[in-house]
C-alpha cells in the first residue's frame, strides 16, 4: 500500500511540478480529489471540464485505489452521458500556444503566410474532433464497401483530413466551396451530418441527396459537391466566385482539384478568366502525388502545381499540417477578398487508400511509402502530439473524443444500413425546379411515370 501511495505521490509531483513529500493517506487523497474532472459526452463540440471542489476522502484503514476513488465520486454526478475522468483540471491546461509551421513556397507574391500559428485549446480539440470524425467516417465507408453495402464509386479521403479541416477553419460558412469526387470530408466540414453522408453512400432515402446522387454528388448550402467529371468543377468554382463578385457580398469561393486534374485545359481557361476579371476564387490543388495510378512525375511536365497558374500567384503548403493549411487559406482568402484576384494554393498531402475502393493502391506505390507517411506525417497524430506536448489537453480527453466519435459513426452506419431505400415513386422527381408535374416515359410505352419538382 505504501508503494501505491508513493506511486500516486510521485505521479502528483510530475503532474503538478511540486515537491510532494511523504504525506498521510488522507492528505494525498485530498490532493488527488482536486484532479477529478467531469466530462460530458453529450457536448458535441469539445470536452467541457468542471472544476470540482476538494472533497474529504473516505477515512479508512486502506487507501482506495485511484479507480475506486473515481467511482466513489461518480454518485455525485448527475445528468446522462457524464463520466468521470482522472485527469488534470481545466485550469492546468495551456489555453493557447503558438506553433512554428513550415514555410510556404510562393510564386509571384511579395508576402507569404506566417511562419507561426496560434492555436487555442478549444480550436485544437475542435480540429481534432473534426479530423477524427472524417477519418472514422471514411474507414467506416471502407468497411461498408467491402461488405457490399456501398456500391459503385467510393473515393476515400483518409490521410487528407488536414486539408478539409484547415480550409474550413479559415473561411466562413457564408463562403463557398466546390470540389471533385473525393468529397465526403468536405461534405462533413460544410455541415452535413455523418449519418446523412453514409446513408447517401448506401443509397437510402435519408441520404443527403435522398439516395439519388451517391458518393460523388452530395450538396449542402454553399457547397456545390461532389463533381464526377475531372476538372469540370474548377470553372464552376470560378463561376461561383463571379456570382460573389457580382453580388458584392465579399465572399470567396474555394475551388478544389487534384494533381491529376491540374493538367485539364478547362482549368487554364478558368484561370485566365478569373485573373482577367479578378474573381475572388481560391484555386486549391490537393496534390496527393497520384492521379489514380499515375504519379505526378509521369503525368505533368511541371509538378510545381502552385506555379501552373503562371500569372496567378501561388503558394505551396504542407497539407498534412492543419495549422499550415489554415494559415495559408486565411492568407489566400484575404488576398481574394482584398480584390487582388484569384490565387492558387497547392496542398501537399497524401491519401492512404487507393484512388477508389476498386484500387488497392499498392500497384503504383509501395506499402512502405504509405506506412512512412502514416507514421511520420499523419495529420491527426501530428495535431494530437502537438497538443499533448504543450499541455493543451490530456490523453484521456482525446480518448473520450475518440470514443464519442466511434459511437457517432457507428450510429450513423446503423442508420445508413437500416434506413429504407428511396420509394419508387421518387424515381422521376427532381427533374426540373419549380415546374408543374409532368409525365416521364418509363421503360416501355405503357409506363408513364409521374415527376414533380
Amino acid at each position: 500500500m505504501k508503494n501505491m501511495l508513493t506511486t500516486i505521490s510521485n505521479a502528483l509531483c510530475r503532474i503538478t511540478g511540486r515537491n510532494v513529500g511523504a504525506q498521510t493517506v488522507s492528505e494525498l487523497l485530498i490532493d488527488l480529489s482536486e484532479y477529478v474532472n467531469v466530462t460530458s459526452l453529450a457536448t458535441p463540440t469539445l470536452a467541457q471540464t468542471l472544476r470540482q471542489p476538494p472533497k474529504p476522502p473516505p477515512v479508512g484503514p486502506r487507501a482506495p485505489a485511484a479507480a475506486q476513488l473515481v467511482s466513489a465520486q461518480t454518485d455525485r454526478l448527475d445528468g446522462p452521458g457524464t463520466s468521470v475522468v482522472v485527469s488534470r483540471s481545466f485550469a492546468d491546461f495551456t489555453s493557447q500556444a503558438t506553433f512554428d509551421i513550415k514555410k510556404c513556397d510562393v510564386h509571384r507574391l511579395e508576402e507569404a503566410p506566417p511562419l507561426k500559428a496560434e492555436l487555442t485549446r478549444d480550436q485544437g480539440l475542435q480540429y481534432y474532433r473534426v479530423m477524427q470524425t472524417v477519418r472514422r467516417m471514411e474507414l467506416k465507408a471502407d468497411q461498408l464497401y467491402k461488405q457490399k453495402i456501398i456500391r459503385g464509386f467510393c473515393h476515400l479521403y483518409d490521410g487528407q483530413e488536414a486539408c478539409a479541416v484547415g480550409i474550413e477553419a479559415a473561411i466562413n460558412p457564408s463562403d463557398h466551396l466546390i470540389t471533385a469526387y473525393r468529397a465526403h470530408g468536405y461534405t462533413y466540414t460544410r455541415g452535413i451530418a455523418v449519418k446523412e453522408i453514409l446513408a447517401e453512400l448506401t443509397g437510402r432515402k435519408g441520404g443527403v441527396a435522398k439516395g439519388k446522387g451517391g458518393s460523388m454528388h452530395m450538396y449542402a448550402p454553399h457547397f456545390y459537391g461532389g463533381n464526377g467529371i475531372v476538372g469540370a468543377q474548377v470553372p464552376l468554382g470560378a463561376g461561383i466566385a463571379l456570382a460573389c463578385q457580382y453580388q458584392g457580398n465579399n465572399q470567396v469561393c474555394v475551388s478544389l482539384y487534384g494533381d491529376g486534374a491540374a493538367n485539364q485545359g478547362q482549368l487554364f481557361e478558368a484561370f485566365n478568366m478569373a485573373a482577367l476579371w479578378k474573381l475572388p476564387c481560391v484555386f486549391v490543388c490537393e496534390n496527393n502525388k497520384y492521379g489514380m495510378g499515375t504519379s505526378v512525375e509521369r503525368a505533368s511536365a511541371s509538378t510545381d502545381y502552385y506555379k501552373r497558374g503562371d500569372y496567378i500567384p501561388g503558394i505551396r503548403v504542407d497539407g498534412m499540417d492543419v495549422l499550415c493549411v489554415r494559415e495559408a487559406t486565411r492568407f489566400a482568402a484575404d488576398h481574394c477578398r482584398s480584390g487582388k484576384g484569384p490565387i492558387i494554393m497547392e496542398l501537399q498531402t497524401y491519401r492512404y487508400h487507393g484512388h477508389s475502393m476498386s484500387d488497392p493502391g499498392v500497384s503504383y506505390r509501395t506499402r512502405d511509402e504509405i506506412q512512412e507517411v502514416r507514421s511520420k506525417s499523419d495529420p491527426i497524430t501530428m495535431l494530437k502530439e502537438r497538443m499533448l506536448s504543450n499541455n493543451m489537453a490530456s490523453v484521456e480527453e482525446f480518448k473520450e473524443i475518440d470514443v464519442a466519435i466511434r459511437k457517432e459513426v457507428e450510429e450513423a452506419a446503423q442508420f445508413a444500413t437500416s434506413d429504407p431505400e428511396p420509394p419508387l415513386e421518387e424515381l422521376c422527381n427532381h427533374l426540373f425546379s419549380n415546374d408543374l408535374p409532368l409525365e416521364v416515359r418509363g421503360t416501355n410505352p405503357w409506363v408513364q411515370l409521374k415527376s414533380v419538382s
Binding site: 456545390y224 464552376l236 487554364f268 481557361e269 478568366m273 476579371w277 419549380n434
Partner: protein
C-alpha cells in the same frame, strides 16, 4: 416600296416598323428586345459570350445591350467555351441567372460536358437541393456556305437529355416569347436560334409587344389548319412547310402545319390530335435523319393512340446523312427544299 423597306431593314437601323397598321419585327430584334426586357426586370440576369458586348454580338443579336447595361451585365469572354460555360453554370448555381451565348451551337460541343453533366443533371443528382437557372442560346444548324464544322443541328443531341429543356423558335414572336420564358425558367434551357432567320421580319401581335409577353415552353402551335396531312416541323422549316402548303393548296391538298416551338418536352398531344384528324404525318427538319427529331416523333406517334389513325407510314424529311459540303449546289442539295417536302407529302398521300 417593298424594296426600299427591305433596304431600310438591312441597314440595321430600324428595330421594328409599322406597315399598314401592322407592327413588324425581325427575329434578331425580337431576341434583343426579349433580353433587354429581362435584363431590366431582374438584376440577376446577365449575358456572357464571345463578342456579345463591345462588338454588339457576332450576329448583332445583343446590339445596344452593353451600352445600356455595361460591363457587369454584358460580358465579353475569351474564346474558351468550356471555361466560360462552366463559369456560367457555376454562376447559376450560386444565385445568378446567366444567358450563355454560343457563337454557334457547333462550339457548344467543346462545352457540352458542362451543359449536360454540370447543368442538366444537377437538380436531379442533388434531389432538388441545387437548381441551375441558365439559358444557353445561339444559332443552330446550317447557315450558308459555312462548311461541315459550322453547320450541325444539335436539336436531337440536346433533346435526348433529361433535365434539359430544348426550345426552337421560328418567328419573331416565338423568339421573343420563348426567350423570355427561358430566362424566367429556373432550369437549364437550350435555346436554338437560326442564323438565316435573324433578318426575317414577322408581324408582331398586339399582345407580343408587352413586356410580360411569354410563350409557354412545351406547347406547339398550329400555324396553318389543314385536313389532309400533318406537317410537324421546327425553326426555319416552318417557313418551308408553309410555302409547300401554299403550293399544294392550289392542287387541293390542305396541309396542317405544326410549329413545334419546343423540342423537349415535345408537345406530342398536339401532333396526335392533328394526326387523328388528317391521318397522315410528315416531319420536316434540317438535322440528320438518324436518331433525330423526326425519328422521335414517329416513334411517339407509333406508341400512342394516333397510330391507329394513320393511313400510311409516317415520313421524315431531313437533311442528307452527310457532313455539310461547301459548294453551293452541293449544300443546296444537302438540306430539304420545298420541292422535297412537296414530293414527300405526295408520296405519303399516295397521289
Amino acid at each position: 416600296m417593298a424594296a426600299s423597306v427591305r433596304c431600310f431593314l438591312r441597314s440595321g437601323k430600324v428595330r421594328h416598323y409599322s406597315l399598314n397598321g401592322y407592327c413588324y419585327m425581325m427575329v434578331r430584334d425580337a431576341l434583343n428586345q426579349a433580353m433587354d426586357e429581362e435584363l431590366e426586370r431582374d438584376e440577376r440576369v446577365f449575358l456572357l459570350g464571345e463578342e456579345v458586348a463591345q462588338y454588339d454580338g457576332a450576329y448583332k443579336v445583343s446590339r445596344g445591350l452593353w451600352k445600356k447595361y455595361g460591363d457587369k451585365r454584358i460580358m465579353d469572354t475569351p474564346i474558351t467555351e468550356m471555361g466560360f460555360t462552366g463559369i456560367a453554370v457555376g454562376a447559376a448555381m450560386a444565385g445568378l441567372r446567366p444567358i450563355c451565348e454560343f457563337m454557334t451551337f457547333n462550339f457548344s460541343m467543346q462545352a457540352i460536358d458542362q451543359v449536360i453533366n454540370s447543368a442538366a443533371k444537377t437538380y436531379y443528382m442533388s434531389a432538388g437541393r441545387q437548381s441551375v437557372p441558365i439559358v444557353f442560346r445561339g444559332p443552330n444548324g446550317a447557315s450558308a456556305g459555312v462548311g461541315a464544322q459550322h453547320s450541325q443541328c444539335f436539336a436531337a443531341w440536346y433533346a435526348s437529355c433529361p433535365g434539359l429543356k430544348v426550345v426552337s423558335p421560328w418567328s419573331a414572336e416565338d423568339a421573343k416569347g420563348l426567350l423570355k420564358s427561358a430566362i424566367r425558367d429556373d432550369n437549364p434551357v437550350v435555346f436554338l436560334e437560326n442564323e438565316l432567320m435573324y433578318g426575317v421580319p414577322f408581324e408582331m401581335s398586339e399582345e407580343s409587344q408587352s413586356k410580360d409577353f411569354t410563350i409557354p415552353i412545351g406547347k406547339a402551335k398550329v400555324e396553318r389548319q389543314g385536313t389532309h396531312v400533318t406537317l410537324a416541323t421546327h425553326s426555319r422549316y416552318v417557313s418551308f412547310c408553309l410555302d409547300a402548303a401554299a403550293v399544294l393548296a392550289k392542287e387541293g391538298i390542305e396541309c396542317e402545319v405544326i410549329n413545334l416551338r419546343t423540342i423537349r418536352p415535345l408537345d406530342v398531344e398536339c401532333i396526335e390530335t392533328s394526326v387523328m384528324k388528317t391521318n397522315h404525318l410528315v416531319t420536316v427538319e434540317g438535322g440528320w435523319p438518324q436518331f433525330g427529331v423526326g425519328a422521335e416523333i414517329c416513334a411517339r406517334i407509333m406508341e400512342g393512340p394516333a397510330f391507329n389513325y394513320l393511313d400510311a407510314p409516317a415520313t421524315r424529311v431531313t437533311g442528307v446523312d452527310i457532313p455539310m459540303p461547301y459548294a453551293k449546289i452541293l449544300e443546296d442539295n444537302s438540306l430539304p427544299q420545298i420541292k422535297d417536302i412537296i414530293f414527300s407529302i405526295k408520296k405519303t398521300l399516295n397521289v
